[in-house]
Symmetry: C2
Subunit: 344 residues, 2 copies
């Protein structure tokens, strides 16, 4: 077993970034014993809680405590840092974990972060869909030139293997179409409405448990689902595709009455994502659909997600992620990290 040590930097230290820091720590001995991997966190950058770089290694527990008690990371830094790009340049890390908030319309600033890190010779692992949808082909090119890797397993269905599945396990196969339920928040809202919640109450519930943002538009208007569809098409069908190209309809027009009527008829509304090849072009939709009990989508409850792939040689192949936990997205980033450094 080849031994390797890596300086990792975390840009974004919200729920995902912090969960990743905890998971890296929890898995430190298996990383070392099974993969020969050791690491130190040498940089952490946040939007509202300061930034720190320490080439000797930052004490992650202290950083977690500072941020979770509303304090700044600045005091942990060996020198002042002026911006997120300055953070990347001066960190001299080996691997960037990019987990800044997603911008559905431009992919920024994640796109600049990833580009800068790759150009500086870092591997990049991200859960940010924007960077994939608005930069995949360019970023892949830069990564190839620099002999680095750009990985993003956690962008769709948390840590469930989707992109790595097609990259590693399904060679010489053509993806013809896919269909799925990819947005947990709307799925949980629709499930709650079946139990009698109004749309507003259901939205509030998803906000209270930390699933939906303060502005639920990205979820209920279908943007999050559309950007996931665009990411799948861009990478798995190797065709640049933006969320704006996805025919998108959200769930605002689905009333509680409609949901109850559907339930009486043995049916359910689901926000269904789908795409298929039509000759040289690709057609993609996000829209509420009335599905019956014979559909596999009918049984996707709460925050569970599913995608069903149609290919030229396998029968339909589906991946289902049931009740993802807080470490699920972090695990996708960890898996990317391990695969990047053990297959140099």
């Amino acid at each position: 077993m080849r031994k390797s040590h890596h300086s990792v930097i975390l840009l974004g230290f919200g729920n995902i970034g912090r969960e990743l820091a905890r998971l890296l720590d929890r898995k430190a001995s298996i990383l070392k014993d099974s993969y020969g991997i050791t690491y130190s966190v040498t940089g952490i950058a946040t939007a509202r809680h300061g930034m720190a770089i320490d080439p000797e290694g930052i004490d992650v527990q202290t950083a977690l405590t500072l941020v979770e008690t509303g304090k700044s990371l600045d005091e942990l830094s060996r020198f002042p840092i002026h911006s997120s790009l300055d953070f990347i340049h001066r960190s001299r890390g080996d691997v960037l974990f990019e987990n800044s908030p997603v911008n559905h319309l431009t992919g920024q600033p994640a796109l600049d972060h990833v580009r800068t890190a790759l150009e500086s010779g870092m591997h990049v692992c991200t859960a940010n869909k924007g960077a994939v949808v608005y930069g995949y082909h360019e970023l892949r090119r830069i990564a190839n030139v620099k002999n680095r890797k750009f990985r993003f397993e956690s962008t769709v269905m948390d840590g469930a293997p989707i992109f790595s599945l097609f990259r590693e396990n399904l060679p010489a196969l053509q993806l013809d179409a896919f269909k799925g339920v990819l947005n947990s928040t709307t799925n949980l809202i629709l499930t709650r409405m079946e139990s009698g919640d109004s749309f507003e109450d259901a939205v509030r519930f998803t906000q209270e448990i930390g699933l939906a943002e303060t502005d639920p538009a990205a979820d209920v208007d279908g943007w999050d689902a559309a950007i996931k569809v665009a990411a799948l098409i861009t990478v798995l069908m190797d065709t640049p595709f933006t969320p704006q190209q996805v025919q998108r309809k959200g769930i605002r027009k689905i009333s509680q009455e409609m949901v109850c009527k559907a339930k009486e008829d043995g049916k359910r509304y689901k926000l269904v994502c789908s795409a298929k090849r039509l000759g040289e072009s690709i057609s993609a939709q996000v829209a509420p659909e009335l599905v019956s009990a014979s559909s596999v989508l009918y049984h996707v409850e709460g925050s569970t997600s599913i995608v069903e792939f149609e290919t030229d040689v396998l029968g339909k192949l589906s991946i289902v992620e049931t009740d993802p936990g807080p470490s699920t997205t972090a695990y996708g980033l960890l898996a990317d990290f391990i695969n990047v450094v053990i297959h140099p």
Copy 2:
């Protein structure tokens, strides 16, 4: 792209072996253009239709026609061959595709075939569960010493990625338990019984469509399911496990009346496979279970199969293969072949 040429030999030229030969041919240009892989079939061995070795390459179309019209392959051989082991030794192939019939109790003769080929310096790809269950740890050791690969993706759920998923995509993760419907024949029998078939008629139907063997015991008594459970435990939980160690109950005691009564109650019988860690040991079962509509297993129809994994960091992760076609198992072998030769 590194270019490579490979002599491949096929031991077993039944449904799977022949389908693989066709799929290799169908995918020849993508193998060459996307992976730099060219190949020639230099040996084909069958139990009842002779054997042939030709270092210059066998015309596969001719071989298919000979076997499918009940003739012998011997006429295509450059020299007489005395046995399957003689075939392996003298073929001087680079890659063996081992697809001889499964022996649930000993794994032979597949085990000897795989061992001999690895010791002779060949990579081996197989759809034969026996070799995995009775030889995995030994064969992996030989493969490591010889710097060759032993791959067997098609042994469970045809070509759906299961073993490669844990090997490539899910590092540093512990599998705690799994549950699934892994035998298509019994699932189709139970589905037919729900539509009014007697057990005997349903069995006959699965034989007529070529799914079940003339002696349906391996399926209806749960041996096929048990050997798949044993293979998953052996490899994914890294613990040698035989089908005899699986608590096994088949479907012979499920009467048409029981199936209809269950249907009235909104339930279905499924032959459920399951395993879980209990401290240092592993407990495994194959048995008919009455499942309700809220279970994902309820909705597995006909020849569809499913497995749900429980791990320490992901939520439950399920893989569903819906309506596998004839090329599905062959595709698993092809994917193994590509991955073996592009990652030397």
